[in-house]
Symmetry: C2
Subunit: 440 residues, 2 copies
Amino acid sequence: MIPAMRAAILAVGSELLGTDRLDTNSLRLTEVLEGHGVELVGKAVVGDGEAAIAAEVRRMAALADLVLVTGGLGPTADDVTREAVAEALGRGLRHDPEILAGIEARFRRYGLRMPAVNRRQAQVLDGAVLMANPRGTAPGLRLDLGGDRAVFLFPGVPVELEAMIASDLVPWLAARSAGRGRERAVLKVASLPESTVEERIAPAYGEFGRERISILARPGEILLQFWAEGTAEERRRSLAAVARRLRDLVGPAVFTGRLDEDLAGAVGEALRARGETLATAESCTGGWLGQRITAVPGSSAWFQGGVVSYADRVKEELLGVPAELLAAHGAVSEPVARAMACGVRRRLGATWGLAVTGIAGPAGGSADKPVGTVHLALAGPGEGDEAVSHRGVRFPGDRERVRWMSTQLALEMLRRRLLGLAATEDGERPAAALAPGSAG
Amino acid sequence: MIPAMRAAILAVGSELLGTDRLDTNSLRLTEVLEGHGVELVGKAVVGDGEAAIAAEVRRMAALADLVLVTGGLGPTADDVTREAVAEALGRGLRHDPEILAGIEARFRRYGLRMPAVNRRQAQVLDGAVLMANPRGTAPGLRLDLGGDRAVFLFPGVPVELEAMIASDLVPWLAARSAGRGRERAVLKVASLPESTVEERIAPAYGEFGRERISILARPGEILLQFWAEGTAEERRRSLAAVARRLRDLVGPAVFTGRLDEDLAGAVGEALRARGETLATAESCTGGWLGQRITAVPGSSAWFQGGVVSYADRVKEELLGVPAELLAAHGAVSEPVARAMACGVRRRLGATWGLAVTGIAGPAGGSADKPVGTVHLALAGPGEGDEAVSHRGVRFPGDRERVRWMSTQLALEMLRRRLLGLAATEDGERPAAALAPGSAG
């Protein structure tokens, strides 16, 4: 944690001003700054014009202690970051024979002659400290402006930037933070609307500070984020305390504390712990449920496979859904969902059979069963031969969202049953995304 | 097309300086500017500080003719864009009773009393033109700076911004462009490496201008983009001419000219035109192929369904793959891929059966069959009973990439067979992503 240090990030490159290429370098640098508790006060993208770059560097140097510039260090005529920064900060530029020798040597290693244009990359700002570039030709430059103020010039190529973050930026920040930093932890919540989560965690705002906890709503999932500052040990203890309290407040709708784990991963862990297996029967999701499950490495230990029963004939022949059931209720109905779940469970010999059938749109809806109507069923061990549970819902949104929400709710149904939880929670309101179909 | 008009975009909001929330408004505004041939010279994000916003607006107004600002028009204390812009441009701020009445009326319509904080949203910069906000409380503001120079202040909420783009920004730009604009068209190419596409289209650079055509490589796909300027009619004719020439040069590896169509959509169109159907058998892709196919609206007309045969027992029981074949060659092998394709085709009664089996990693690889080894097979009508084609490949990359590339190559195998093309092209080099498994 570097108290009161402020930073700004500038990405140079006309190609970053279109709609196809995003400036991802600034996100990576933001992450590094956050890890050291440095406040980001602004970021910008400018094209390859020298005057525009110079104006922006000047503004940022006035605004922030630390200015991180990426891009424009290449060999071609439109790479003018060095010149622009020299102008902005009133520094001279000189040619460095040692750097030139290094660039020439790099070309020789690949059996090439250095093109004349690359000579430009050997230019150095007066007083600059060089940052080696093991993955490219242009060295980075660091200019100390006195006190803890500095300007870093990095290449725009992500792998080259990454090397210099590790070799130069992180040590520079660490020397100023004395092991203190800022760290984030997360909890993920399924099946509850944002307002319910907000209500439940309200006491934690008072206990830990409003600014230390945030809620981010994503389709079918809420991300709770919280931060701690201090030494590594202080951060660890503080984050554990907040996580414990939030889990208490939210309850078992929290399905993971790992940012890289989704609901399929959480379901997989529960199945693996119980030595049980899963099979899926998908209609409207068309394989998406299977795709999410098999995205989890090692899922072959608990996932048997599934049937994508898009056509009714496939429901009959591969899942054993009776033709009369399809005729009487239609493919999108509770009885058919139940028959699909039981069918796939038996045919594939799995502990659990999970089925989804619905109308994803844009066509295919009716007054009776509008677009967004989805029936889900879960067959598994229970009294007698097997126990089947069902949920009928209606999701708002377009085809992609209806399909996504269907996979999310199917996985959550299974997770709740595996953990012995009630199928729904009080906080799930009929007006929310997971509204019962009958309410539609 | 507005000759020589330069624009800059500023997004205001501390929440946009983290790593979780991106400034997507600037991409949307960039698109609108591109459509009118306005050059974007810079974009930036600043937090909610008045001085920082003012400094950036001043810099942008010096750099650009048109400055588009989003965010910071809300009712709370940290919404200071109005004040900052007043300061930057030396304008006064006054309270507008008419706007206030409008905001109060909006609250009344929802049966609410206007909170006192919302009074701030009725402040107007001297000389500003109001932009109505049908979807929120804060009106937008336009300040004319003389000539064709202006500053627009938009709300940061995307739906509110969208309404003002349509009602105010586009008409303002259109009045200055006299129907002239800039437009993009695309072609998508499958199964060829970037360098081969680059080689093939080289003549078009000379004929139409290097700066009018660009190549963007994405996993398993190349996006060719090209631009035209002028009136609607001029653009249409020019884009059609470039598209025709590029299709000639690249050949049938071009699978679509629609930005919103992927390979699954192109395959679907070909199947629909022939009145044929498809069934899939997936192992390592786990349903992703089915997910992509069913993401195409109306795919039920040509997609029967599929089997996700993750476990070997499912390959035997649902697809009829002989146990001896699995024992002799392993699940990831040419004979098993062929048996899966034939099995799913017969069981589901489809014209075509498409099968994928492979090792996606991170575990499961061996010296003989390293991670990335994938076998694909396509069964369909042919001499005698049926004809089955096969491809064995090895993809580089992680689990997600191997799986994605498998779905892409499977769809391309089918597309080429449907169009009567050779299974592979000369330009596909063994060293590229689609290397034969034997070369690994």
